[in-house]
Amino acid sequence: MSTDSMYRLLVTIAVILGSIIYGFFINSLARRITARVQNRMGPPLKQPFIDVIKLYSKRTFVTHGIMQTLGPILMLTGIISTLILIPYGKGYLTLYSSNGDLITILYIMTFGQLAMALAVGQAGNPYGTIGVARGLTRMFGYELPLILALISLIALNHSADVNVIIANQHGGIANWNAFRHPFVGITALLAMLGMMSYQPFDNASAPAEVASGPITEFGGKFMAIMMTTNAMFVVAKLALLVDLFFGGASNIFILALKIFLLYLYPLFVGLVFPRFAMEDTFLFFWKWPTLIGFIGLAIAIF
């Protein structure tokens, strides 16, 4: 192995571990902020770390079959593959993003969720099945505007390479895709609300409705893997959106700041709006975001 690829590997491992820690960190900040909005103290900042250590230290390991055991692990695989295809900065921090473009990332992103759906199917809990059905319906909803926004981006940049899209946004805030192409930006930001599965669109894991949805039957170590995966996934999704619409980042600190600011947006929307019903969720995404997305696409092409 040459020193170059060795460095790349080391940086990749650092980014994977860092994304776990940063994902937990912004999660706990979000919990603090939610608590403050509700006039509470909120849990200490280290709470997600305590939770995940506790879950890993659970003694029992109940599984209903091989697919349930494999599901969370496949999900972890899917998320790590997504994570290493996204650039986090310059030089080695682009990781392996030159090996796949936007379409690969979109494709791999859904892999984890599909593995999860299979695992839930084997666990045989009716709440889990309802949760998966709801989750996939929501995905079906928000993916249309999201894909419209991304196709417009590809058409505007004549390339599906994330690094090229970042490079084309150089030279100040006015050049960021979210501001230079407002229709595309608005579409993506609306689709992102569904992607982050925060409050108005948290119907898949709605706690008071369907127990906790897909994860109903997963406790202990499974749950720990899922929490870890979620932390990574949040960072991956936000980093991708920052790269595509908010000018990327020249170093990891600016990226972390941008990720955090972007994370606040679905959080605050979620604090204001109560949960949508399933059909309203679907209608919402296929109405305004899709319309704006088509306008953006038309402008991009003609």
């Binding site: 509470r40 909120g42 200490p44 250590i53 506790k54 039957e217």
Partner: protein, 193 residues
Amino acid sequence: MDDLKRPTLDSDFTCDMAFNKITKWAQKNSLWLLAYGTGCGAIELSPTMTSRYDWSRLGIRGSATPRQADLLLITGYLSTKTLKRVIRSYEQMQDPKYVIGFGSCTINGGMYYDSYNTIKQLDLYIPVDVYINGCMPRPEAVLSGLAYLKDKIGDKKADGWIKYKQNFEWYRENQKKILKSFNGDNMPDKYNW
């Protein structure tokens, strides 16, 4: 009660390695409780979890399913019909797990001492780690009970789940005396499934 074997703790439960210290610390500072109110006492949980007393600052939060929960709160009287669900939920929880008996009803029957359809003494059916007395206990009492449970976990004395596993037949027999439907095939004779 006398024929109950004393729990013998397995070695890595008492072992003092650094790793165990970390897990104990995590287990004590992160308690997810099963949102399952059995009796009237559950009404006191709402102020305990919302802005006024806010138990989330102590690392406590509700969880929707027994699989993810560490702590089962029996909030008051327990009718025989509910007992069956409680046992099923308790057995589905993952070790280590803890039970808090909440209110006088779980200790000696409370004001339902002569009722025909509630159980009188909870720890004949599932092991109880901490009792919070009162009818009903105020949120301050609930928080102090939870703090006491945390101390017990830290001192490795919250061993109800080991007791339950080791005296499983004894507990099952008691349960079967009350729940006639447990005698058939309705209840798996396994401990955790």
